[in-house]
């Protein structure tokens, strides 16, 4: 995955000649290989850790991984759209909260399909607010987002009291039951919600929009070098607005998904920090759709596993060891190796092995924070390699640069 969106997505190399090194450079080739490799590692670990866990590779776990990754994926893509346009959006959490309420309200009133759309709009409304503050008024992005995160739960609580309390089964803190979007039967994964499929369809769609359309090019320009766009007649503000509103809409959709697919009800506080994890997912994915999807699946996997099979998480420690070992090896083979770069993963891997051998299970609270720890580990090892949009977080004012 390089930043050079236009070049390395080119079609496979010259026909007739199979060049592995060349193939490896192609995204379509690398991804399945990664996936296959991952599955082999999981299978090996499961075999070593036997009989601790059957969940590492089960169909139920695969389904859970998909389900739990969707809100993170949508939030991550949302964060990506905003930051690609230059606006940092840690208000995703608040926008997702709006999405849960509006999604539930819409679903109760008009059914899950229209309801989901309303949830999306609710999130977009939050995005619009963030855009007004940051783009039009030049408020610091973090500050505006914090204000939105504080405001959103208050608004939804008030709205729930005003509206849901009037329904049977509804109250200030919850909605009546909400029907699901509907699902389709797939092999291995069992029933997969249509909304899950739609969410994952956003991954190639987001890539296409950002790297293959006029809109996407201009939006990315707004996040990389707004003055450059401005000097060529691009209305930077408009694209920043678009990015943040799309961001809010995706966060709202994530909220709707939690309501209609994950639980079937709106409950106050249900987003549970997913907006923040979504942001971590985006960073994990280096501000790119494919990477974000990978990150979301990883966190979704960890989430699902900790709920379904606590011992599985224990076995998963071994997967972490494998990954760290590979990392250390790669660093050791690279010309730029330093003691820290090689030593740190090696030391951590060793510590995990010791822990694995000393305890039969990981403490239950460890499960709850696996995604958080994972995020920190990823950041620690790759912060320098990540390539955020240059202008992200900066307040750009037309004519002042």
């Amino acid at each position: 995955m390089s930043e050079r969106g236009l070049t390395d997505a080119a079609l496979p190399g010259s026909p007739g000649r199979v060049d592995l090194a060349h193939l490896w450079k192609q995204r379509w080739f690398r991804w399945p290989v990664f996936a296959l490799g991952g599955m082999i590692v999981l299978q090996l670990v499961e075999w070593i850790a036997d009989p601790e866990s059957e969940e590492l590779l089960s169909g139920g776990q695969a389904g859970a991984m998909l389900r739990w990754s969707v809100p993170l994926l949508l939030a991550g893509l949302g964060g990506m759209f905003a930051e690609r346009a230059g606006i940092v959006n840690i208000g995703l959490e608040g926008m997702m909260v709006l999405g849960t309420w509006f999604g539930a309200w819409g679903s109760v009133k008009y059914g899950p399909v229209i309801g989901t759309a309303i949830g999306l709009l609710g999130g977009a409304l939050g995005g619009l607010l963030h855009a007004i503050a940051t783009v039009s008024f030049g408020v610091n992005h973090i500050i505006s987002a914090v204000a939105i995160n504080i405001m959103a739960p208050g608004v939804t609580r008030f709205l729930a009291d005003e509206i849901f309390s009037g329904y049977a089964g509804g109250s200030i803190s919850q909605s009546p039951r909400v029907a699901s979007f509907g699902s389709v039967e797939l092999p291995v994964l069992d029933r997969v919600s249509w909304l899950t499929i739609i969410a994952f369809a956003f991954v190639p769609l987001a890539w296409y929009v950002l790297w293959r359309t006029r809109f996407g090019l201009r939006l990315r320009a707004a996040g990389e070098h707004p003055s450059a766009g401005d000097s060529l007649g691009v209305n930077v503000y408009r694209y920043q607005y678009a990015g943040v509103v799309i961001s809010g809409a995706l966060a709202g959709l994530a909220g709707s998904f939690i309501v209609t697919e994950l639980t079937g009800i709106y409950r106050e506080g249900q987003t549970n920090g997913r907006g923040f994890i979504g942001l971590a997912t985006m960073i994990f994915g280096n501000w790119r759709p494919g990477g974000t999807a990978l990150g979301a699946l990883l966190f979704g996997y960890a989430d699902g596993l900790q709920l379904r099979d606590r011992d599985g998480v224990h076995a998963l420690l071994l997967v972490g060891v494998v990954v760290l070992a590979v990392l250390a090896l790669r660093r050791a083979l690279s010309p730029k190796r330093t003691v820290v770069e090689v030593g740190l993963p090696a030391v951590i891997a060793t510590l995990i092995v010791v822990w694995y051998l000393l305890r039969d299970t990981v403490p239950p609270t460890f499960n709850q924070v696996t995604p958080h720890i994972l995020t920190l580990v990823v950041l620690v090892f790759s912060a320098g390699r990540l390539r955020p949009p240059k202008g992200a977080g900066q307040i750009w004012r037309k004519g002042e640069h």
Binding site: I90, V139, V155, F276, F366, V369, L376
Partner: protein, 376 residues
């Protein structure tokens, strides 16, 4: 315009923004109330009547004390352009560990309290040091790191600690801190001026600590070389570095200082009222601290006002429910609108202030530059 006059008008502008924010919030809340079928005038009248009682004031101040400390903790980071979103995790962890230590020791009064305070500050500082170290050694963004550490701190570290403890009643929590570790109330302070505030209410003695923290913060930042270095580092890190301020050390100092202050946030409640850590301990003060710091513009005086506004809203809003005037949640909306309106108003006034200064500076300079350049 003379300097004095300009600074007075700037001061006025500085006040206008938060006042406007509160007014906007009132208007928005009134509209919402009218839409939802309540009479906003009744609601404000009973909040005003109730809020001006002495007892409510005590409640409001007691609420404002932790909010104030939280605001200062956040502001210290902000002054260096560090977003310590992790105040939340830092204070919870600190309160938990300090309370546990407090239950295990038995020392004469002030010493007992001092140990608890020190432990709390150290734990807060230590937890804040993690993102600081990650930032200076690995370049990890502190916003994301502190968000992650909040969850890790509360869910993992705290639960692992708490899991080993005895429980009391139906709650899972620490034992009580002994009598010597309590911070006595200071109702006598009120009694100097007025009647007894009545049974069941004690003005937190921790108020003095909050005041001291505020003064310390102000003196440190504006009167010491270290404070200058810190602000310089926040204003322009590379210029500060060239001036001899090691930016990494400043990041560590600001984060750790912020964490140490954050460690105090939970103590007014624990040492003044609860005496234990358990399910009835207030979480979320760290995030409110961000709001308070924003509203108070990182200025110790402004944060006092902001903490009191929030304290008053919290202390006087229950009357809405008791009297059945309006949904109590209106206050949450008001808080949100106040913060939002305030940050927008600040951005606008800041820009206009800048513009006026530039114009003033340009006034002082002749437009032709040829005669500049005489030897000094």
């Amino acid at each position: 315009m003379t300097a004095a006059r300009r600074s007075r008008s700037e001061l006025l502008l500085g006040f206008a923004a938060p006042v406007a924010a509160v007014l906007i919030a009132l208007v928005v809340a009134s509209i919402v109330l009218m839409i939802s079928g309540s009479n906003p005038l009744d609601a404000w009248a009973s909040m005003w009547e109730f809020g001006t009682r002495l007892e409510t004031s005590v409640d409001a101040i007691n609420r404002a004390v932790p909010l104030y400390i939280a605001g200062i903790a956040v502001a210290l980071g902000f002054r260096m352009n560090l977003f310590n979103i992790g105040v939340e995790g830092q204070y919870i962890l600190a309160a938990l560990v300090a309370t546990e230590v407090g239950t295990k020791i038995d020392l004469p009064g002030p010493l007992h309290v001092a140990v608890i305070v020190l432990v709390a500050m150290s734990v807060g500082a230590a937890w804040a040091a993690v993102p600081a170290i990650l930032k200076v050694t690995r370049g990890v963004n502190e916003v994301i790191a502190t968000i992650m550490l909040n969850a890790i701190g509360v869910s993992f570290v705290a639960a692992e600690l708490l899991g080993r403890w005895d429980s009391a009643g139906q709650d899972t929590r620490t034992a009580d801190i002994g009598e010597s570790g309590h911070v006595p109330g200071i109702n006598w302070l009120l009694e100097i001026f007025t009647r007894d505030v009545g049974k069941g209410r004690e003005l937190y003695g921790f108020l003095f600590v909050a005041i001291a923290v505020g003064i310390g913060y102000h003196v440190l930042l504006t009167r010491t070389v270290f404070g200058y270095d810190l602000r310089a580092s926040g204003a322009n890190p590379s210029a500060a570095e060239a001036s001899g301020v090691p930016s990494k050390r400043m990041i560590l100092a600001a984060m750790i200082g912020s964490g140490a202050i954050a460690g105090l946030i939970g103590l007014p409640d624990i040492l003044g009222e609860l005496y234990h850590y358990g399910g009835d301990f207030s979480q979320g003060l760290g995030f409110l601290g961000i709001a308070v710091a924003l509203l108070g513009r990182n200025h110790p005086g402004g944060i006092v006002a902001a903490a009191l506004i929030f304290g008053y809203l919290d202390a006087s809003s229950p009357i809405l429910e008791v009297e059945g005037d309006a949904p109590r949640e209106i206050v949450t909306i008001m808080k949100g609108v106040i913060i939002f309106a305030a940050v927008v108003a600040y951005a606008v006034t800041e820009r206009s202030r800048r513009r006026r200064q530039v114009a003033a500076a340009a006034d002082a300079v002749p437009t032709t530059s040829t005669e500049i350049g005489a030897n000094p």
